[in-house]
Symmetry: C2
Amino acid sequence: MSVYDDLMAFQRQTEALAQVAGRLGWDQETMMPEGAADQRAEEIGALESVLHARRTDGRLAVWLDRAKAPDAVGEAQLRQMRRSYARAVKIPARLAEELARVTSLAQGVWAGCRAREDVAGFLPTLARVVALKREEGAALAEGGDPYDALVDDYEPGMTGAAIAAMFDAMRPRLVALRAKVLAAGAPKGVVGTFDTQAQLALTRELATVFGYDWTRGRVDLAVHPFSSGSGHDVRITTRVNEVDPFNCFYSTIHEVGHAAYEQGVDAAYLLTPIGQGASMGVHESQSRSYENQLGRSRAFTGWLFGRMREVFGDFGIADAEGFYRAVNRVHAGYIRTEADEVHYNLHVMMRFDLERALIRGELDVADLETAWNDRFRSDFGVAVDKPSNGMLQDVHWSCGLFGYFPTYTLGNVYAGCLVKALRADVPGLDSMMAKGDVSAATAWMRERLQRHGSRYLPREVVTQACGFEPSEGPLLEYLEAKFGDIYGL
Amino acid sequence: MSVYDDLMAFQRQTEALAQVAGRLGWDQETMMPEGAADQRAEEIGALESVLHARRTDGRLAVWLDRAKAPDAVGEAQLRQMRRSYARAVKIPARLAEELARVTSLAQGVWAGCRAREDVAGFLPTLARVVALKREEGAALAEGGDPYDALVDDYEPGMTGAAIAAMFDAMRPRLVALRAKVLAAGAPKGVVGTFDTQAQLALTRELATVFGYDWTRGRVDLAVHPFSSGSGHDVRITTRVNEVDPFNCFYSTIHEVGHAAYEQGVDAAYLLTPIGQGASMGVHESQSRSYENQLGRSRAFTGWLFGRMREVFGDFGIADAEGFYRAVNRVHAGYIRTEADEVHYNLHVMMRFDLERALIRGELDVADLETAWNDRFRSDFGVAVDKPSNGMLQDVHWSCGLFGYFPTYTLGNVYAGCLVKALRADVPGLDSMMAKGDVSAATAWMRERLQRHGSRYLPREVVTQACGFEPSEGPLLEYLEAKFGDIYGL
């Protein structure tokens, strides 16, 4: 056995244990009896402590120093391991433990304060989380920008400055588009109730249409839709709203995008450091393009309208064109997770600016609510009516997820580029999708991007797939064309 | 922190990880997509290797040598840990790995050979397993009887000789009872089909009646019924046969017996070495007494008959007495898992004698089929018609489970004693059970036995619960009285 082989064998067990930890998370959200919560916390804690010990194992330094990669794939494996090890040993054990403990408690505090509209009650906890994340960022950055270090965790190679430049270029066009669309008045929505079992049957059909491999996954109900696991066991969840079937259908298509990415990684990379999606942003490029650029296209919604009429009968929409407008309805709202394609990125951009300022010490937690509300009025044209519709709406910051928000919009930007390239490569795409056949699109994504896992850096794999350097242009052109058309702008 | 505290903290993480491993097993049988099998094997292998390293961790020897128990419960904790550590370090790593590998493959070989009725094809594999288990037994026994060492794994403190003496005393009376009952002719069984959903609804009601705590468990479908987990997360499975509702109902009550035991252990023992049932035999005493002595009693079946009539209407049984006879129908058969109370122990006893002779080197694997078939004819009065009804019927030996079979009958023996004591303590038991109220019985089991977990040795806890030394007498008296009555002997 070479040093490289030793290292890969050790890492393979670590990857397998990380999959087990992920499965426990899935179980907790879908299957676990409520009385098991405390015991489960201990089980996860024990497994995380095993994982932490393996990720900081002293042998890794020696192995990583001496290992010779047998080929270019091996180089990518070593790059991923060096990155992970360097990160793990920079965080003092004391800080890692305190972050775990504080963020675990903070989620409960956040949920209580959100329910009571109690910003003041949440601020001391948030201040503690921000202080710890600033400390973590500083430890990782070693003199550099602490926010960049946190972003790099989710989006290797990306910086706050690069994101800021991109977002600053996008904001004026999105604010202008939002204003024009809202002024044009909302299209008609669906009416009536939609049977839960019928929704679930159709959602399974949609998962199949978008290439979900049922032999290596399953779909269950959960409070929040998510995708979990890598390789041969990638499970997703969905939820059902009896008066809004699009909630179930499009959150499922979104999660199938994430799951198809993980299922699509080259089987040779299974349980290795490159055996997972390249970054959160690239992941979101898959879920968003499946959900929006493909799933909410005129072509595909034409087919979906027919299927929904077959399943549910009349639901107040006369024809496919009206259905396309209903699916792409733009409406003013406070909540990011309920936002349409026009509003969504504006939500993300304001969170990015605010969290970056918090981590860089340019904004105090005490001033966050004012900053949030001012920015919301400026970008969305309305005043926040209550904290649960404002700065208390997202769980992310209480979890310590700083640097994560921008990857949502980065995913949309990548999706804009990828689907532009896809459409250039597959001219008959719309006529296929109009028959409910998305396989050419999903095969293209698999071949061009998904199969590589983390073999390449995020921006690298997107550039290779597209054949051009990604930028915000294609997304903005797509949004302006689509919504300009729908709203007759 | 004292040495004892260090030890308990270390052990607590080990227990938590063992619970995780158990949950993976549950997932595999209930939820896992079929394509995930290979990946899951690696995940379980990684976790087992972490567990093995912890169970043989060099620090344990030092800690166990120096630790001072703070009280009698602490003494029991140390006893369990010393036992586990002594066992773990006696098995060479090479042997442990080979046993894991060989038995894992052997199960597939067994399944194939059973399907093809191919004894000769199975013998080389079985011979390899027996050789490895003999080696393991010898390593554990350190000069003593290797079979005793294997039995001790499942039933601490029990020996092959003690079991043989007990079984030898039981066999003639059971053989005689079997012959008389079969000569009397079989009672009428149920007729018709029983809706799956209605069976599942009633089986949930039965689980509740027998004290299953739903806040700390759940019931799912699986190929084989089983109970999994300890403490606050104890899940069971069941299966449904549309023409035999008793399959679902009684296998559920059986598993609830196992689960109630684990759920009933004192919460202070959660995730500690004594936080689980005392042995396989004591476990089986709970599942068997719930299923048979209570669940198949005239009193309880009277209530169940009424509920089944309400749910299913007429199913060919006129009255509660006929129903009692149908539930307790004795029929000749080859298969242990389908055996009634009269036949069941005869199955176990022959396996015990055969496996003990194999491990002690007194019987060669090549002669096993002849030995099995001769013994079957002698105890059951009929010839085995094919290997799948003979020595190929059980998975146990291919899994390396030698020393496990006798705990089934030991459980029945303990159940006989426990229910005798219960009936003496709770005189109105039958009138309560006739109304579907089993709570006095389950509360007695919890208070007398379940809550202690492994605080006491198996025989010790049964003796304390009963107030007398357990023996085969009460079980035999119960069986002779019950079936003598039903069959008018």
